[in-house]
């Protein structure tokens, strides 16, 4: 029951912050709202007992990406950081797409009965994810083990670092 209350609070917080993030006139505020959304998401992960994931979420997203955003905003804003949202037509388009999407997806979601569905996650997996298991899964090459994607990801990140430097450096 307490979980439910926490969830509801988190859910309302996330939705409101998301809305603020996409409607805020000032880009720096938008970035801040994004940060709140991400933190809220980390909260959801904790509720789901994905502790490691929550940690990663906060460290990478909140610690890394949002900081990146804020630097970028400082580097690119000239007079104030106003987002002049005058294009009514575009906003209308966006609203149409969003509302329609929510309606259709929501309808599908609520109508659908998922298979293997257990109403009570505690029965099946209500325990903390073992760090040892995560580490083994990341470093192994067996089935359900992810060394190869992990390595590929590291190469990707390397490529990103080089790419980022190359693109952003002064000529």
């Amino acid at each position: 029951m307490a979980n439910l209350i926490i969830f509801i609070c988190l859910a309302i917080f996330i939705v409101i912050m998301s809305l603020m993030a996409v409607t805020s006139k000032k880009i720096l505020r938008a970035a801040t709202y994004l940060l709140f959304v991400l933190i809220g998401t980390a909260g959801l992960y904790l509720l789901l007992n994905f502790h490691f994931l929550a940690a990663v979420q906060i460290s990478v997203y909140a610690g890394g990406i949002v900081v990146l955003f804020i630097f970028a905003i400082f580097l690119t804003s000239n007079k104030g950081d106003m987002i002049d949202n005058h294009n009514k037509k575009r906003i209308l388009y966006g609203i149409v797409a969003a509302v329609a999407g929510i309606a259709i997806t929501g309808f599908a979601l609520l109508k659908h009965r998922f298979l293997n569905y257990s109403d009570n996650p505690t029965i099946a997996g209500d325990q903390e994810m073992n760090m040892k298991m995560i580490g083994e899964a990341l470093m192994g090459t067996e089935k359900y083990q992810y060394l190869l994607p992990f390595e590929i990801l590291s190469v990707l990140l390397l490529a990103c670092i080089i790419g980022g430097i190359l693109i952003a450096r002064k000529r």
Binding site: V15, L44, L68, F69, L109, Y144, I167
Partner: protein, 102 residues
Amino acid sequence: MIKMEYYLIVSTLMFFIGVYGFIARKNMLAILISLELILNAVEINFAVFNRYLFPGSMEGMFFTLFGIAITAAETAIAIAIIINVYRNIGSVNVRKINKMKE
């Protein structure tokens, strides 16, 4: 009891709010922020499905994990590009980036 649908509704809302932002905003950074929202919503879904439908396994979680890493990479590159564009044309308004079209 928190039902799975509750999580999904939250992620759906987040996703389409992101879509709205992507379509409606002009500032490239704001678009990128919307993009983060979209990705985040998807990642929540992975985690939720993992937990509720396949509680014994960890695929969903790892997918989320990799997703976060790739998002980070993508954002880094995107921001590098945006900064570069800004240097060249002095704006981050997407409507003004049409040099290649002409």
